[in-house]
């Protein structure tokens, strides 16, 4: 490489390092702020303490929000994963035209701006009494997260070899046994990834919650948003840290399932790496 090229490479690496710092810095900075012993969100902190975590875990509002977030997130994950996986199987097994249309229709919630989805649900829910209920929030989050399940499971099914089902049938397995013992174990990592996406979508979702949830259904993001608009207390920083930790756990779980999925398909089908 000539000196000019080396200079360019150095410049690009420096630039990339700066951008990566820009991407990570806000997330990292929240950590020391949340452990501050002071009343203000300033750096350097006057000292370190756990008082704002104490504040978080002794506040009925934050505890209710935490509980709601997990209840809604888990219910959404179960519902979206079940519906999404069944539909993906239907699309995979069926032999009919218009599959692309069905996938596109089910995926529209990903394309529509979330505010539009939020007020649409708010208007419609006002007729059926689903506003200010956890059920309404679960339904809304299910619709928002189901495309991720559908797409990940469909992608996993692409790598599934239909001959395996024929083989199972030849060996005398009835369809439901072939489904449970052959198909399901092979697509399990994809289903798990879909479930993680669904949980993460619900857990981070704010805009629909602003419209559909009342104070009794406030989730963690909704409570944080309310807090930000009232008074900027370091408790918000500690809530942010807890959310970041949850996101990291979900990311780690996702990478784990992805690696396992790769290993599985590689083991099941070594001849065709795609």
């Amino acid at each position: 490489m000539n000196p000019q090229g080396r200079g360019l490479a150095l410049f690009l690496r420096t630039f990339t390092a700066i951008v990566l710092v820009f991407l990570m810095a806000p997330i990292v900075v929240v950590f020391p702020l949340s452990f501050s012993s002071g009343e203000l969100l300033t750096l350097p902190t006057p000292g370190y303490s756990l008082r704002w975590y104490d504040d978080f875990f002794s506040s009925s509002k934050w505890l209710l929000a935490t509980r709601n977030s997990f209840v809604v997130g888990i219910a959404t994950a179960i519902l979206a994963t079940t519906l999404g996986t069944l539909a993906a199987l239907g699309i995979f097994l069926g032999r009919f035209r218009g599959k692309a249309f069905i996938v596109a229709l089910m995926s529209t919630p990903m394309v529509v701006p979330v505010v539009v989805t939020a007020i649409a649900m708010y208007f419609a829910f006002s007729f059926v009494g689903l506003n200010n209920t956890l059920t309404g929030l679960v339904v809304a989050h299910t619709v928002l997260s189901v495309p991720y399940v559908l797409i990940t499971v469909l992608a996993t099914l692409q790598t599934f070899d239909r001959n395996l089902l024929k083989a199972a049938a030849t060996l005398g397995a009835p369809p439901h046994v072939a489904f449970r013992r052959v198909l399901l174990p092979l697509i399990a990592p994809g289903v798990a990834t879909g479930a993680l996406f669904a949980f993460a979508t619900s857990f981070d979702e704010l805009v629909v919650a602003i419209f559909v949830a009342g104070p009794q259904q406030f989730t963690l993001p909704r409570q944080m948003y309310a807090g930000l608009r009232e008074f900027l207390s370091p408790t918000i920083a500690s809530a942010a840290v807890l959310l970041i930790v949850c996101s990291l756990a979900l990311l780690a779980a996702n990478e784990y399932f992805r690696a396992r999925g790769k290993a599985r398909t590689a083991a099941a089908d070594p001849a065709e790496p795609n």
Partner: protein, 395 residues
């Protein structure tokens, strides 16, 4: 032809999700569309007046029956909640009608036959042909008013389309602002993201993995948390100002929060991974043989970049850029938290009309236009990027 057993099973598997998506997504969108053009208030609250106005030709004043009906029905509406909705709706049509309707509803006891004369005596506006034309127009099931207003147009009392008065003509500038902000966010994301993705794709696998992790962690962190972080960082007494003063770059704290600058910083931060991730995978999958071929044919580095590398990575640029633009256009939380009043986008006003002024028609009309814009963008994306799908950018 009989449906095969296989397809019957498939239909049964797809049906539950189909029902849920239609019932709780497609139907709500249709409800929103109806809310944008529906006009139920006058018909529901003033049915007799509606009937009395049906045969009126719109010239002079309507028959005595219309005056009698409007007095009786407004008074009746006041006992329920309907008067609030009706007066809000008509006041949106013409400012001042709210007070007129409430005043008339309260005055029922003092009004006696002949009703036309006593109503005009109560308020001369009841003697205006234009007011009655406006009422008659709103006895229809549908109204174009909200959609027209979203485009800074309005209806004259006679029912023709006209430019909205200056103080109401806020929406075209709002759409323009939404586009300008989204455009610059997209440009910034592409200009910053391209060299980053390129550099990451040239690193050793180990280093690239670490680099990608530093892109994925923010990507997985919720938008609210990242916006909150910027909200804290950019405060007047916040860490960024402390750093700038510590380095003696500025003497006085700089106002960054609630400015356009803060909106750009936070939005680029949120959306940058959406460009880096697809670009990285495109660049990683690029066969270096083309670049070598170009080099062996004597192309200097900049030509190799401009005529080989850039065209081959263009699908990634288009996919990431369109994705960022599409997401930007619908942004709500980030500008609402770190921007000032002049940095809010369409979504903010949709929320504002829904929650603050309870003008659902206006909220729905803006939502429909935003939806239309997104639809056009998706169409463009499909034309420009073969196989474009929003899910393609998921990690």
């Amino acid at each position: 032809m009989a449906i095969s057993r296989n397809n019957l099973l498939a239909a049964g598997l797809i049906a539950p999700l189909f029902v849920v998506v239609v019932a709780s997504f497609i139907v709500p969108l249709l409800v929103t569309l109806y809310t944008a053009i529906g006009n139920p208030e006058v018909r529901q609250t003033l049915p007799l007046t509606t009937g009395a106005l049906r045969d009126w030709n719109g010239e002079g004043l309507p028959p005595e029956a219309a005056f009698a009906a409007v007095i009786a029905e407004l008074a009746q509406a006041q006992e329920g909640q309907a008067i609030g909705q009706l007066s809000r709706r008509l006041n949106f049509e013409q400012t001042g009608l709210r007070t007129l309707l409430l005043k008339t509803a309260r005055a029922k006891e003092t009004l006696a036959a002949p009703y036309r004369e006593s109503l005009v005596a109560l308020d001369t506006r009841w003697g205006d042909t234009e007011l009655w034309q406006l009422l008659k127009r709103n006895t229809g099931t549908l109204t174009p008013l909200f959609l027209l207003r979203s485009l800074d147009l309005t209806l004259t009392p006679a029912g023709s389309v006209a430019q909205a008065p200056k103080e109401d003509a806020v929406f075209l500038p709002l759409f323009a602002r939404t586009f300008v902000i989204s455009f610059w966010v997209t440009v910034l994301c592409v200009v910053i993201g391209y060299p980053v993705a390129y550099t990451l794709s040239t690193l050793s696998q180990r280093a690239a993995n670490i680099g990608m992790a530093l892109v994925l962690v923010p990507f997985w962190t919720s938008i609210l948390v990242r916006t909150t972080a910027w909200f804290i960082l950019l405060q007047r007494e916040g860490p960024v100002n402390a750093l700038l003063r510590g380095l003696s770059i500025v003497d006085e704290p700089v106002t960054m929060i609630f400015t356009r600058f803060a909106v750009y910083v936070a939005m680029v931060h949120v959306l940058l991974p959406f460009v880096v991730l697809p670009l990285y995978s495109v660049m990683k999958g690029l066969d270096p043989v083309y670049l070598r071929a170009a080099a062996s044919l004597g192309a200097p580095p900049w030509q190799r970049f401009l005529r080989v590398y850039l065209p081959m990575t263009m699908p990634g640029v288009a996919a990431g850029g369109l994705m960022v633009f599409m997401l930007s256009v619908g942004f709500y939380i980030t500008p609402a938290l770190v921007g000032g009043p002049n940095d809010q986008m369409v979504s903010y006003f949709i929320a504002f009309f829904t929650n603050q002024t309870i003008n659902w028609g206006m909220a729905a009309a803006l939502a429909c236009l935003l939806l239309l814009m997104t639809g056009i963008l998706v169409g463009v994306a499909r034309l420009v990027v073969p196989g474009f799908r929003l899910g393609s950018v998921s990690p």
